[in-house]
């Protein structure tokens, strides 16, 4: 019998509303004015003219990309934190985004446009994932500490490669590279593949969520309680890396969402991964969608990279919750 306690359920319902509100706002706000009637008409299928085009062709794909990227990063962050048993872990800690950045910036440096930077990002992310996995497991012993050390060192290597490319890049290419590194949705492609990955990934993550609850207490206790720890860690590592790779390919390396969204939810009392993970998808998606709407509109017609705004929105929210919380966070 499903017996979800009432409070997490109420919180999840609140997050659904928040996510919906962020999406509606993203479709409404922008340089071209679209009033609520026009928006409603467009969404129900009888809109027309410029408003319809702007909403369906421009704002909807972009809002979808923002939501997908934020949700993917937040879920990946929650998974990584359990995997390395470290609350300070984020989706990038094991070098996935470093590999992606090297691939994307490499494509830009070679003057390749179109979908090449995205392809480079995805390739680099997968390469980094496989490399860290292989190196950390080579001696058959991959404790969370060993995995963390391997990942952090590989990430530092990618960081050097990125710095090198920035240093040798002709100055007209620098702006695009910096925007990519800060995370930027203005060049995001079709969000539908990412949304599919999000749905499948979230389903898998939720299916293993109770095992993650146990694993969060340590590998030996988890093994003693019947969790197949080795298989679970491989699953979590590959899943978190894939989700991160897809997010980074879509939107560049947006910081902060993946680290902080799981903590915001824990401070609100969602600790059970069966509700924490769907909650992370909703809050991460909502936060990034709101941040991107602000990035598009605050200094319009100039657009800011969304990565600037995620921290700007997230830092005060997190500090407020931390200060309000009766829970001492170690």
């Amino acid at each position: 019998m499903v017996n979800i306690p009432a409070r997490p359920l109420a919180l999840l319902a609140g997050l659904v509303l928040l996510a919906a509100a962020s999406l509606v706002l993203a479709l409404h706000a922008g340089i071209v004015p679209v009033d609520w009637h026009q928006l409603w008409a467009t969404l129900t299928g009888d809109g027309h003219g410029l408003a319809r085009e702007v909403v369906l062709e421009l704002r909807l794909p972009r809002a979808g990309a923002a939501f997908a990227a934020g949700a993917l990063l937040a879920v990946a962050g929650a998974l990584m934190q359990v995997l390395v048993r470290n609350p300070l872990a984020d989706p990038y800690i094991l070098g996935v985004s470093g590999g992606a950045a090297t691939g994307a910036l490499g494509a830009m440096l070679l003057g390749l446009g179109g979908s090449w930077p995205a392809a480079g990002a995805f390739g680099g992310a997968l390469l980094s994932t496989a490399g860290v996995f292989g190196l950390a497991r080579r001696q058959g012993n991959w404790s969370p500490t060993r995995l963390l050390l391997t990942g952090v060192v590989v990430a530092a290597g990618w960081g050097a490669a990125v710095s090198f490319m920035l240093a040798v890049s002709p100055s007209q290419g620098l702006r695009g590279m910096l925007f990519w590194l800060m995370g930027d949705l203005s060049a995001a492609g079709d969000p539908r593949p990412a949304l599919v990955v999000l749905a499948v990934g979230l389903a898998i993550a939720t299916a293993i969520a109770r095992q993650l609850n146990v694993l969060a207490h340590g590998e030996l206790p988890a093994a003693a309680l019947g969790v197949a720890v080795e298989r679970m860690r491989i699953t979590v590592y590959l899943l978190a890396s894939l989700l991160t790779a897809v997010a980074v390919t879509l939107a560049g390396s947006i910081g902060f969402v993946g680290l902080v969204v799981p903590h915001i939810l824990r401070l609100l009392g969602l600790r059970d991964h069966r509700v924490l993970l769907p909650g992370a998808a909703l809050l991460g998606g909502a936060l990034l969608t709101a941040a991107d709407t602000l990035a598009r509109t605050a200094f319009a017609p100039r657009q800011l990279p969304v990565g600037v705004l995620t921290a700007l929105l997230g830092v005060p929210l997190f500090l407020y919750l931390l200060g309000r919380s009766r829970v001492t966070v170690r």
Binding site: V2, N86, G226
Partner: protein, 255 residues
């Protein structure tokens, strides 16, 4: 059939031979105590008995089923392990921590039901932690955290309790109370206890079977009369222990 048995079990840690050719049968209602110096491999032996480490040779079986053939959740319903220490990097309430003991009893999509909550609350009450349900785990003292670990194990409700220094961090009152409770629980419900203890007097008072690990691969096991002898204990601890009779029971005083 024995709740837990070993056949020609050999356990090694690097160069240390923990045991060789060990044939053990742990029956319902028994309380076993593993004794030995630091580093002779008591913990590793316990982990091997729990199915978390592979033996160098021989087999461990529960009710006739070899551990390596048992699905991990079946094993976890039968064998419960209390680790020497706990670490909690993520915030959690006491009740949620105790509830993870129900994990092996639930299906893939299963959620804890009223019966699971009842077991968790009863286990907390049995460990003297009624009213601690909503406390944050890291606000507890070392002894309270230890009792939460024991309550988690009671919630898991295995047939064999493998306890690695269960009295760690506990005050004298709670040490005695815990061992009395566990012993009574085991006898009343047909469970078995296998625990590592360092206090020979606590062991003598509560255990009825002893396994002595000498650190060179040799081990002895048997009842109190056969095992708790001056010669054995001196060899075990490399320290002389003197038996003293106090109101009808024997206490061991280190020289």
């Amino acid at each position: 059939m024995a709740l837990l048995a070993t056949e020609k079990l050999a356990v090694r840690i690097a160069d240390v031979r923990v045991c060789n050719g060990l044939d053990l049968a742990v029956d319902a209602g028994q309380c076993w105590c593993v004794l030995g110096r630091n580093g002779v491999g008591k913990t590793t032996l316990l982990h091997t008995l729990a199915g978390l480490a592979a033996p160098a040779a021989g087999t461990v079986s529960m009710e006739g089923m070899a551990l390596q053939d048992a699905p991990s959740t079946v094993r976890a319903r039968h064998l419960g392990l209390l680790l020497q220490d706990h670490s909690d990097p993520f915030p959690a309430t006491v009740l949620d921590t105790v509830l993870i003991g129900r994990h092996p009893h639930l299906g893939l999509w299963g959620w804890e039901g009223p019966d699971d909550y009842r077991r968790a609350r009863e286990a907390l009450a049995a460990m003297g932690l009624a009213g601690f349900e909503q406390r944050e785990i890291h606000t507890l003292s070392g002894g309270e955290r230890r009792r939460v670990g024991l309550a988690t194990l009671l919630t898991q409700d295995p047939a064999v309790y493998l306890l690695d220094e269960p009295t760690n961090h506990l005050d004298l009152h709670h040490q005695i109370r815990l061992l009395e409770q566990l012993g009574a629980h085991a006898r009343a419900t047909g469970k078995a206890l296998v625990m590592v203890l360092h206090d020979i007097n606590l062991a003598a008072r509560f255990a009825d079977r002893f396994l002595l690990l000498f650190g060179d691969g040799e081990c002895l096991h048997g009842d109190a009369q056969a095992m708790l002898q001056e010669g054995h204990l001196q060899r075990l601890y490399r320290h002389r222990l003197i038996p003293v009779s106090v109101s009808g029971t024997t206490a061991w005083l280190p020289e």
